[in-house]
């Protein structure tokens, strides 16, 4: 099971949360784990919107080695010049709290971020049950 959603508005961020919740429930995750992946999804969807100028998220159900959910956020925005700095709490180039990227990493079992300056950013996270 997999699906791709557009992230173009604040309403889309709400929709992403609802769909990720559904996948997490399907995967048999505990309430705390569901809450963690949905919160991480919310942070990353908002980053995609605010810093990437919008983009997409692919939601995938994982079956092996463990059941879980994988999310891939992609945008064609300006990219992240310094990924290490962006992962530090409190670092922001906008008006947020600067917790989004580092916070999403702490809430995930697996976390990858790739960015190409001027071309875009791709963040992939997974959480297993």
């Amino acid at each position: 099971m997999a699906e791709t959603l557009q992230i173009r508005s604040s309403d889309d961020v709400v929709r992403v949360r609802q769909r990720v919740r559904l996948f997490a429930v399907e995967a048999g995750m505990t309430l705390v784990d569901q809450t963690k992946i949905v919160t991480a999804a919310s942070e990353l969807a908002r980053n995609t919107l605010d810093y990437g100028g919008g983009g997409t998220v692919e939601i995938e159900a994982l079956a092996a080695p463990q059941r879980g959910v994988r999310l891939t956020f992609a945008d064609q925005g300006p990219g992240i010049a310094d990924i290490e700095a962006a992962l530090r709490d409190g670092y922001t180039t906008g008006n947020g709290l600067g917790l989004g990227l580092g916070g999403a990493k702490r809430l995930s079992s697996e976390f990858h971020v790739e960015s190409w300056p001027g071309q875009g950013t791709r963040v992939r996270i997974a959480r297993w049950r």
Partner: protein, 132 residues
């Protein structure tokens, strides 16, 4: 546009957040609450988030902003009803809502604001609107 209702209970304002917050709703709530604190001379703001399935940094920042603005207007803010899974996630996210006072439920929150929910029921509503 949707609005979140703000109830007046004695000298406190009560807000129950029951819908998935998006930007415009959050901004509208901040503005409505600020206006209402001044218009009714509220001394406390109680925000019930027991219906929220997640609190991300966006909502966290909204709660912090409301608490900060209320403080400037001489009103205290108490956030009540956070679900256990939300609390665990919030701390792991790195958000501990340091600027916001919390309580387990509405009753305890009202007590923190110096208002007993039972006294409120019989309290006359005379002096709240006098300044406006």
């Amino acid at each position: 546009m949707d609005r979140i209702p703000i109830l007046k209970l004695g000298k406190a304002l009560l807000v129950t957040i029951q819908v998935d917050m998006h930007d415009r709703l959050a901004t509208a709530l901040e503005e409505d609450l600020t206006a209402k604190i001044v218009s009714v001379g509220a001394r406390g703001v109680l925000i019930d988030i027991s219906a929220l399935e997640i609190v991300d940094s966006f909502i966290g920042r909204m709660l912090d902003n409301i608490a900060a603005v209320s403080r400037v207007l001489d009103a205290r803010t108490v956030v009540v009803g956070m679900r256990p899974a939300v609390a665990i996630t919030l701390v792991e996210l790195g958000l501990s809502l340091t600027g916001v006072q919390t309580a387990l439920d509405v009753e305890r929150g009202m007590r923190l604001l110096g208002q007993s929910p039972f006294e409120l029921l019989s309290e006359p509503d005379d002096d709240c609107d006098s300044g406006g």
